[in-house]
Amino acid sequence: MSEHLLILVSTVLANNFVLVRFLGLCPFMGVSNKLEGAMGMALATAFVLTLSSVSSYLLHQYLLKPLNLEYLSTLSFILVIAVTVQLTEMFMRKSSPVLYRVLGIFLPLITSNCAVLGVALLNVQEQHNLLQSALYGFGAAAGFGIVLVLFAAMRERIAMADVPLPFKGAPIGLITAGMMALAFMGFNGLANL
């Protein structure tokens, strides 16, 4: 139990995927200009990341590993992710058109979020079991989502500030991300793994 809690605390706070491990930065910088968009992205990512984390684990555990094909993991993971995204999209469109309208446009962007592939690869590297993989994926997504939403809210405020010209746009965004990373240093040692 506490081990699982630890995985969550670690992925969300101490080793936050975006701010500490540097994964998923492109959507972090790209989809954070508007709070609504960021929330959509956070939700969609949480969904896909958990799902693809589990499915790539299954693929690795029951197909690649027994057949000694581990060198194919990158290739097959990326395919699994692409398929997961597509299936999610289809499922969402069928089951919840409302959700689809909100999140649909974010789904294709997720394929190129390297946090998704990163989670799959890290699961293998850290030898997680099924539950751990799922938690790891979910924690990573939650960590991503939380900082993304906070970041978007901050950027809306920064957009109204009198930022020096060369720093307008991406640079001040990165500075803010740096400040967030600075603050997240405080969680250092929180998850003594």
Partner: protein, 343 residues
């Protein structure tokens, strides 16, 4: 017969106050605390305040010049001085001089002016400066000195100057090192190595409820805080929420297991909690605007501080907690808009 007049916007009454006034009030309110600080820990703190202020004003004017903004109104608003003083109060009193320089570069240059200067920064500049030097130079930043009451030698101004500018330990003081674990630090490392709180608290650095000396400094800071409350420079929500959340959260732990959890009072009167509750978490610029938001903000600061103190890697988490809540402030603001009249 008719006459012409100059026009200007309403209202047509002299303004009541100004930014400089507000900042000056904050500085006045810090005076008792600073006095107590230098009483217990020597004149080093005064040197640090001066150093930080000089560097803060230096970077402030450089950045203003670079951004093409007028110097006078912004230098005269004392906000950089408040930042500098609050930063100086957070660092070990004998920290080397360049610590202030680097911290103020990040505080004023990065955290304040890259965001557009006064009033527009998202993060608390003083805390940004402090955290930057804390993680970059942990050695210098953990070199705390014991309260003077615990040592038979006093710390002269000259000794302090020498230590700050050359790094040499004042030999005359009879110390082998300036380093000393603070109350929080001993508690943390003590509890982690399995010792009991009562046993840890037998160390002479502990006072009645906080660290010896430090608890009185905190008291005087609180006095200054009440002055600000009275003057309505700060609102009660933040300090109450910070202190209240710390008590509420640490009380059950303490009740459950008094051996490995310190008294809630201990939490409040050690580290920078009181200073933060009244002076740092109340920074209007980087905090929340609505009353409900301020309550959430303060509670967040208290809770995160406690979490970091108890489970995290740093003995005190106030600075991180403030920065983390600064991060959340825009979002909180968005969802705590007060109900409009008639809505």
């Amino acid at each position: 017969m008719t006459r012409s007049f100059k026009t200007s916007g309403a209202p047509h009454m002299p303004p009541q106050t100004s930014v400089a006034n507000v900042m000056l009030l904050v500085l006045y309110a810090l005076v008792p605390g600073v006095f107590a600080y230098s009483w217990f820990f020597g004149p080093g703190i005064l040197i640090q305040i001066i150093l930080a202020t000089v560097f803060a004003l230096l970077f402030e004017s450089l950045m203003l010049r670079w951004r093409g903004r007028p110097l006078k109104p912004f230098i005269n608003d004392y906000s950089a001085v408040v930042t500098a003083v609050l930063f100086a109060l957070c660092i070990p009193p004998l920290a080397p001089w360049w610590i202030s320089c680097i911290a103020m570069l990040f505080a004023i240059g990065f955290a304040k002016h890259l965001y557009g200067g006064l009033g527009q920064n998202i993060f608390n500049p003083a805390m940004v400066g402090y955290v930057v030097v804390l993680i970059s130079f942990p050695q210098a930043m953990t070199a705390w000195i014991p309260p003077l009451t615990l040592s038979e030698h006093s710390l002269s101004l000259a000794d302090s100057l020498i230590t700050i500018f050359t790094g040499q330990v004042p030999v005359a003081g009879g110390w082998d090192t300036v380093t000393q674990a603070t109350a929080l630090d001993s508690l943390k490392t003590g509890i982690e190595s399995g010792r009991m709180v009562t046993e840890i608290r037998t160390s002479p650095i502990f006072g009645d409820y906080g660290g010896i000396g430090w608890e009185w400094v905190a008291n005087w800071f609180a006095l200054g805080g009440f002055f600000l409350l009275y003057k309505r420079v700060i609102s009660w929500q933040v300090p109450i929420a910070v202190i209240g959340s710390v008590i509420l959260l640490s009380l059950p732990f303490w009740l459950a297991d008094q051996d490995s959890n310190p008294l809630p009072l201990q939490h409040i009167f050690s580290g920078a909690l009181v200073l933060a509750a009244f002076f740092i978490a109340t920074d209007p610029v980087s905090g929340c605007v609505s009353n409900k938001g301020r309550l959430i903000f303060g509670a967040g600061v208290g809770i995160i501080t406690l979490v970091i103190r108890r489970w995290g890697g740093y003995p005190d988490g106030v600075a991180f907690a403030v920065l983390l809540m600064n991060m959340a402030a825009p979002l909180i603001d968005r969802y705590t808009r007060p109900r409009m009249y008639g809505e």
